[in-house]
Symmetry: C2
Subunit: 723 residues, 2 copies
């Protein structure tokens, strides 16, 4: 059932510019739509693949946005005050590429457009939009992510305008447009993000729903019966319908301008379209991911009154129709520059900070804010506490810092004394204690890890260096956010995930909360630094690395329980090299790799071995990816494989990946167990110094007898009996 | 704002049993509530930890369910026709444990109850409910999962009753109750599952919302402003409010019976409660996860008119109050047995199948259904196609098989000619082609991977062996489902995930769709078999292993593109051993590990090496976990480390974990690239036989010169230049 039949909605009531449709305008609109649809068909047919359906269906929406509504400057895709467009249904990328071409994005030439699906390795038109190319705000493809990204962009925008705009100085004022398909509105990440955007009343955000009623598998009613408009209203959005979204340009313009000018809630524009409009498979799921066929393309063109013999053709008058977009953009840029200048005269200090943030420049001395080693506590302290203190420092000195949190902030600890919540100023909580406004930099995301991480991607993508987003949750629950964490790393976005409660020592909560295998994923994920510090000093090092990694995401993995501090051994600089010698020992019998919470077992086992007459050296190994970036010489110095002594990793995680460095492991082979925290749960799995020392002693004896060669290809799981 | 202020809802209108509240009944109800609340407080105080808040708040709901509403038999927790209760807010487990004790679940003695949070390794009262203990339907803890599980249980129940119930033989008729907290309703997985349950009109399902308005971080309005009732109605649920859920037993009973008897839609019961009711921190977020303190417990007891000096005390009349529950359960069991017997007389064939399914017995000869090797195609075939044929066979011969799918079924290919959709019979789709009813075994889940996997957990947890659930999606998009896949493996549920499009060869779709690191997670995840077959024969082996693994989950990893078939080398039996010799070669210079789609590169590189005068043997390695379960002797026979020749893994994934077996790798170090499928994208990353052979030749030369020892601790990433 079409949801329009069930819900009645407010019509646009604000006075907005009505498009005066002259016959000439009607004619050129029609021509543009026909041209775009045929071009999309040609581009898919060219290499016999691609996604024509939604690109063809949304042609009118593209015209309305790129010609009449969006505030941008094609000549300068990074123009700071631009509207940002997220194509969450990324498979429809041709729609975006084609409009970017006709409005004149300099890089989007016809030649590049035609590289879609080609073997051209330098193509800027991949199968889904990718952030590294001009005019693309975020990479999309995995459905639903774009909604979270758009919410993040809207937060960044709203936060900046609340922080810097002043009376008579409305410096920043732009919209975030998020185009979604049916699939995007089924993914949990978008449902979470929609709840949050409604809560925060992000009125600078509009979702434009390409409601074609068809997904890959068939009609949407195969899997969905909800009244989407009613659901959006229940979540705090205003809803507007466009019944004839395939061609009613004036209605689209009216509605989009309404979304732009109405300032109360985010807007959901339910645009009824027809997938593959005009083609033989229009309205069918075949239109989603199949080319039309040679005859299909020819028939489409004939039907639309276009010449079936010409391909990739755009009439001059189509280019001419969009010719004013470039100059309008340049004028917009000039006005903005003037605004910024005037603002600087009225508010010189704020303006300086604003300009620095626009340029992504920072106080480069932030590292000096970190406590010196001598000032760190020497008694046991949880690394979540060490990290919380650093966050407090960073947040107070760097306006770029924004921290998102998933409900557990009383235990993740990533807050600071003067932190203020990002909230709609008119929103009052029952508890009252946590009110805030849009200048707040602490984002309470509820129990929505996936949306949190997708929002962080949007915060980082807003503009390089303008916002430095941190997320925080239990390491285990980053499992909920995997696709968003991945998209951050894939896009080279500087996002720092603060993952607490990172060991089985969480205890009572049991195996559902003990993250034994999550680190394996993050260590394997390209362009992500998974850093697991063993004490406060290494936690400083972890932040130094993560904040400095401009083009990578990081996960800093932190303990719930108090950790022994090792000021005599640990080194923040060492963290930057991935691994370093923690305790050296000449003519050692064995090298132990200690990591994070389990460093204590390496150190204690070493003592037990010493009592038994064996010498163990210890390597601290907080980050595999950083170590791999070091020289072979450095790596050999640290690991000393040439000594032909065994190397053993001690970590209460699945051992996968450590075999690169170690011959044996003391690790986890099950999901864990609910037992009292720290010692008892560790002990259950054999993490106890005497127990470990005995196993190590046996290994040393074997190697002394049979040589190190006996271990090759026979990695020893020393505590596997605990399976 | 309380959502009750905004939405008006239908009151229960069906005639349902009204509880006649005598003064005596009022008195004992009150005593039970006071007893339960004090007991929960004692149990948390005992070891100074735990989650008292929601357990105390929901005391009345527990009384209503366990005494008056739920159809179950405490003496036989596995009674087949029982109502099933899922505690999605698993931290409230004490609520469940306490009621299980008072109604007389045999294992839940007071001694066991008191083992909550103790160091007792044999405790059946862990910090979150765990499936292996009597009376627990599913393990919960990670929020939102339980909602998906409950939808799965409701599907299994509805499917079985549609398949086996007949006129005058209403054999199966029970409810699924899902208790949720505020957090559960924020997680995307529950939002997805709620959409699906509404779509399927699962009227045997009720969500009981412990609406206490407080989460760990504060009041819920800190992060949520939605009108939850309106949202649930938009999703196709009927909504009932209980305003005074802390103590209004008769209202609760009335509403729950209404949910049980009303048969149109799933029911959402919005129960307003007060977290930590009666305690000093009632209504505050401190109540979520903190004990009351010694004084707090004493004060609670005084306030409730209980004796502050007694602990863990339950009056005899409380036990007496629940004493009829056991006998009622036994009577219920007897009625069910009689029903089944009568059914058997009327429908002997169906009844036999029904009894077999209740007992989890199967046609054990299903393996003979698989095509013999000689009957498999010899030309190129995608393993998604090979797998699709096996699914078709299994589904047609085993009524246990249910297949869930996330929108992509036209490409995942996991359907069969006579497959029927699981749909509400009164539901018609626009396309018409895909109508179905509740006997259907194909579940269209839309673009909701996370709910799909959580639903599969519920299907498997319904009863061991009654349903054999398969899920299907692109491997990349199992990233969306990580927490649910994990919960399946953690609970030892036999669920088989069919993960297609498992290599970078997916091509055009680009890095967002190329699953380079997902396998690392699944290989590290305990109790999960990640199996990546290289051709149709190995695909048969993968199914044999996965279907036979009664207490483990599996991911079968399948290609989109056509794979060369290797009937002369590949072996279904070999898959069961994890790895096996694919091509033997005496006095080989090198061992190559080939896996899945990339086996072809091992075989082709071997040919190139032969042309250059080198001998390579090949090991096929579809499953690491199975190989680890083999004897050391078998492993050595396969890998032949004693020959001191290098071992190289060739796989287009992150290499993490392969270092256990290999000295060098041809692998992926980035997220991939959008290029035409198969050869071009492979070639971009150096996967090309000549290129590989040259690298291998260099490695052989080095080892011949310096010995195998030179490779120790110096794993070689042979194509890392492609970073």
């Amino acid at each position: 059932m079409d949801s329009s039949e069930r819900s009645e909605h407010t019509e646009p009531s604000d006075p907005v510019t009505q498009l005066q449709l002259t016959p000439e305008l009607r004619e050129i609109h029609d021509k543009v739509l026909r041209t775009v649809r045929c071009l999309v068909a040609d581009l898919c047919q060219q290499y016999d693949g691609g996604h024509p359906g939604s690109a063809m269906g949304m042609a009118a929406l593209g015209l309305a946005l790129y010609k009449y509504v969006m505030c941008y400057s094609p000549g300068n895709p990074r123009y700071f005050n631009r509207d940002r467009l997220v194509l969450s249904n990324g498979h429809a990328c041709l729609w975006q590429y084609v409009y970017m071409h006709v409005v004149g994005f300099p890089t989007m030439t016809m030649e590049h457009l035609r590289s879609y699906h080609s073997s051209d390795r330098g193509s800027i038109c991949p199968g889904h939009p990718e952030i590294q190319f001009d005019g693309i705000e975020v990479s999309t493809g995995p459905l639903g992510q774009g909604v979270g990204n758009a919410v993040g962009l809207a937060i960044a925008s709203r936060h900046l305008s609340a922080t810097y705009n002043k009376p008579h100085h409305n410096v920043l004022d732009h919209m975030i447009w998020c185009v979604v398909g049916d699939g995007c509105l089924q993914e949990g990440v978008s449902l979470e993000a929609i709840q949050l955007a409604g809560h925060w009343k992000l009125d600078n955000l509009a979702i434009l729903y390409d409601n074609n009623g068809v997904t890959c598998a068939g009609t949407v009613d195969l899997t969905t019966s909800e009244d989407v408009n009613a659901r959006m209203e229940a979540c705090g959005w205003q809803v507007v319908d466009v019944v004839d979204g395939v061609d009613n340009i004036s209605r689209l313009v009216e509605v989009l301008l309404y979304a732009q000018h109405n300032r109360q809630k985010p807007t959901f524009v339910n645009v009824r379209t027809i997938i593959g409009y005009g083609a033989w498979f229009q309205g069918k799921n075949e239109a989603h991911g199949n080319p039309l066929g040679v005859d299909g393309v020819a028939n489409l063109k004939r039907q639309l009154g276009m010449n079936p013999k010409t391909h990739f053709h755009i009439d001059e008058d189509v280019y001419r129709f969009f010719a004013d977009v470039g100059p309008a953009g340049r004028a917009r840029e000039a006005r903005f520059a003037k605004e910024v200048k005037a603002y600087g005269q009225s508010y010189p200090v704020l303006a300086q900070e604003f300009v620095e943030r626009m340029e992504g420049r920072w106080n480069t001395h932030w590292q000096h804010l970190l406590p010196a080693k001598k000032d760190l506590p020497s008694s046991k302290v949880a690394s979540r506490v060490s990290a919380g203190e650093i966050i407090a420092l960073l947040a107070q000195h760097l306006p770029q810092v924004m921290v998102t949190s998933c409900d557990l902030q009383p235990t993740t600890n990533m807050s600071w004394p003067t932190s203020k919540a990002f909230q709609c100023p008119v929103h009052d909580t029952t508890s009252g204690t946590t009110s805030g406004d849009y200048t707040g930099r602490y984002l309470h995301c509820g129990v929505r890890e996936h949306a949190m991480a997708a929002i962080a991607n949007g915060l980082a993508a807003f503009n390089a260096g303008t916002v430095l987003p941190f997320t925080s949750a239990f390491l285990m629950f980053y499992g909920y956010a995997v696709p968003a964490v991945r998209m951050g790393a894939l896009q080279g976005l500087r996002i720092i995930h603060l993952a607490t409660h990172d060991s089985i020592a969480i205890g009572y909560d049991g195996p559902t909360h003990q993250p034994v295998e999550i680190a394996s994923l993050f260590r394997a994920m390209p362009n992500l630094l998974y850093i697991r510090p063993c004490d406060g000093e290494e936690t400083c090092g972890a932040f130094m690395v993560a904040v400095a990694a401009e083009k990578a995401s990081s996960v800093i993995s932190l303990s719930r329980h108090g950790l022994v501090q090792y000021p005599q051994y640990s080194s923040r600089g060492g963290v930057g090299r991935g691994a370093y010698v923690f305790i050296e020992e000449l003519k050692a019998d064995i090298t132990l790799i200690g990591v994070g919470s389990e460093m204590v077992f390496a150190v204690e086992a070493r003592k037990k071995l010493a009592e038994r007459g064996f010498k163990a050296r210890i390597v601290s190994f907080p980050c595999q990816r950083l170590f791999e970036a070091e020289s072979r010489q450095y790596r050999e110095t640290v690991m000393q494989y040439d000594q032909n002594k065994p190397v053993v990793i001690i970590e209460a995680y699945a051992v996968n990946g450590w075999e690169r460095y170690a011959d044996a492991g003391y690790s986890m082979h099950t999901f864990g167990k609910s037992l009292p925290p720290e010692d008892q749960v560790y002990e259950f799995f054999g993490f106890e110094a005497n127990c470990i020392a005995s196993k190590l002693q046996d290994l040393i004896a074997e190697v002394n007898q049979s040589g190190i060669r006996s271990l090759r290809g026979d990695f020893r799981d020393l505590n596997v009996r605990f399976v």
